[in-house]
């Protein structure tokens, strides 16, 4: 019905002033593009500024008005920064923590989510509600008792306090994956069960492969969270050689007279892995937000 009327209207419009209408649409689109470019450029400005500063000699950094394209280009800020803080070492440390945490968070969360999604055990409803309520309670409450616990078992200044809790799964990820698993049709596993697969095999051979988009999504979230985390390493790590990039960067600015060129170079290099992961996994990112069903 609506369509019929719309078509009629369109016809009328077409006869009356097709050209005018088209021009109006075109101007509207042009205006939108203009707005978006303007906003986008101002969003990107700090990034340009960062790149520009990272390639400037010290003298050039403190020049007014600022030059956007440095001359000469001070590439040496990058290797210099990598020496000022043991960049490669911190990069490696951060990678180890991030990857191990990611494996734990993704795999264990999936395992637990599978348990909640596919088994009807006594106490299931209560435990799931409990899981949801833990999302609501800020982690700061357990911050100090957990710190004291790690101290009592002499594991301060190791990566264990940073990594091990990930192997208990993350409540948010469990919730998200449980929703996802619930949409997988039961027939799939029934035929596998007839073929003699046990529950774990079904999880491993059917649920994990089928949920790849969801797993990649939470993998990206986990990566982003661990890579950018400051508070954890700040609390648990004391020895310089064990620091992560975030911690190294924050020390960089307090230890030395601020060398903005080097500092921006180091910051930029710290961002790059997250940027790469984001660009590679971008598709999954938006998909994942759709899947979490924030609407309810």
């Amino acid at each position: 019905m609506n369509e019929v009327i719309n078509v009629e209207e369109d016809k009328l419009m077409a006869i009356k002033s097709k050209a005018k209408f088209k021009r109006k649409e075109k101007y509207k689109k042009l205006l939108i593009h203009l707005l978006l470019i303007l906003g986008g450029v101002s969003m990107m400005f700090p990034f340009f500024w960062m790149v520009s500063t990272s390639l400037k000699e010290n003298a050039l950094i403190f020049q007014l008005p600022p030059k956007w394209i440095p001359d000469p280009i001070a590439w040496h800020n990058y290797p210099d920064a990598m020496e000022t803080i043991p960049f490669i070492r911190y990069f490696w440390n951060t990678t180890v923590i991030t990857v191990l945490k990611g494996i734990g968070e993704v795999f264990v969360s999936a395992l637990v989510a599978y348990g909640f999604a596919r088994f009807r055990f006594p106490g299931r409803k209560f435990l799931f509600l409990f899981l949801l309520s833990t999302i609501m309670i800020p982690g700061e409450i357990t911050l100090i008792p957990v710190f004291i616990m790690w101290r009592n078992v002499n594991l301060i200044d190791t990566y264990v306090p940073l990594i091990l809790p990930a192997f208990a799964g993350s409540a948010v990820f469990i919730f998200f994956l449980k929703q996802y698993f619930s949409t997988i049709p039961k027939e799939l596993e029934e035929s596998a069960r007839i073929d003699g697969c046990n529950s774990f095999q079904i999880f491993y051979k059917i649920f994990l492969p089928i949920s790849k988009p969801a797993l990649i999504t939470i993998g990206i979230w986990s990566f982003q969270g661990s890579w950018n985390d400051l508070m954890g390493p700040l609390i648990y790590l004391n020895s310089y050689e064990k620091f992560t990039l975030q911690l190294g960067l924050s020390m960089f600015q307090s230890l030395h007279k601020v060398e903005w060129g080097q500092l921006m170079a180091a910051s930029l290099m710290t961002m790059i892995p997250v940027l790469i992961i984001f660009f590679v996994g971008q598709k999954y990112f938006t998909e994942g937000i759709k899947l979490t069903g924030i609407k309810g």
Partner: protein, 296 residues
């Protein structure tokens, strides 16, 4: 007990096998620490030695602690402006992006980028952008003859600085609106147009009501986020105590002054504040959050 019975029992409890890591995690990293945190908050404990029971002393001290009120007011002031402005910005961007134009995914990436690269690197970037003398903003202002403020070094400008930084990262919320906008049934607009509804009528009568569940979600996240703001507040600081957000104050008490009992009491108050604010928002939600029939 015969084999069949055993199998039956196993079947009944099999789910526990899968959720076991989470249950263990909850016991070790949640239930026990939460209980312990209640106790610690009633003690004086400079981390060395054993905790000394002081009853309600910590809580009484907190309510007479000027620094506590300061960090609370910094956090509240920030939240009061940053949350609405952030929602407005991210919604506006999403609204413009939702039109049928070319290069949509390109724009989306650009606007989302700042939300991806959080952490110390971004905080350092902003410290440099907001540098009173040679920073990007003030040198641009100087070019058009305006003397920019001291931003992070001027007590009056610290909170506006933080608001600016948080708006820059508003792209995270944008994605949620973008997903929501795509879900608004097209026929709603079509029938509204037939009834003669203009741009604003459609926006306020259809789009915004349909977006209220997402607004609600972002509002809650914004409140929690303000009280848990740490990394950029820790790096950026701010003139005097004007940049001392709640969590930074808590961190300092725990790991700089080693007042474990006091810091834990602060954590409980943080929890209660978040709880009250969230409940308030939930209570009002029936007046302004619109749920499609069938959902909830």
């Amino acid at each position: 007990m015969n084999k069949q019975q055993l199998r039956k029992i196993y079947k009944k409890y099999e789910g526990y096998l899968f959720i076991m890591p989470w249950i263990l995690g909850i016991l070790i990293f949640f239930l026990w620490p939460v209980g312990y945190a209640v106790y610690i908050s009633f003690t004086k404990w400079p981390i060395l030695g054993s905790p000394k029971w002081v009853g309600l002393d910590n809580y009484i001290t907190i309510f007479n602690d000027e620094q506590f009120y300061n960090s609370l007011s910094v956090t509240f002031k920030f939240a009061l402006f940053a949350i609405p402005l952030g929602i407005l910005t991210s919604f506006t961007i999403a609204f413009i992006l939702n039109s049928n134009i070319r290069g949509l995914s390109f724009y989306r990436t650009i606007y989302y980028l700042p939300a991806v690269v959080s952490g110390v690197a971004v905080a350092l970037l902003w410290r440099w952008v907001l540098d009173p003398e040679f920073g990007l903003i003030n040198s641009l202002l100087a070019m058009i003859g305006i003397q920019g403020p001291g931003w992070l070094s001027d007590p009056d400008w610290v909170i506006p600085s933080y608001i600016l930084v948080s708006i820059w990262g508003a792209g995270g919320g944008m994605i949620t609106y973008l997903v929501g906008l795509k879900d608004v049934p097209k026929n709603l607009y079509e029938s509204a147009e037939i009834d003669g509804a203009g741009f604003f009528a459609k926006l306020f009568k259809i789009t915004i009501p349909m977006m209220t569940p997402i607004l609600f979600y972002n509002l809650i996240m914004g409140i929690i986020g303000s009280f848990r703001k740490f990394t950029d507040a820790y790096i950026l600081g701010g003139a005097g105590n004007q940049g001392k957000f709640y969590l930074v104050y808590l961190y300092e008490n725990a790991f700089k002054y080693f007042k474990m009992g006091y810091a834990t009491a602060l954590a409980w108050i943080l929890f209660i504040i978040i709880l009250i604010l969230t409940l308030l928002v939930f209570k009002t939600s029936s007046f302004w959050v619109y749920y499609e029939s069938g959902e909830e």
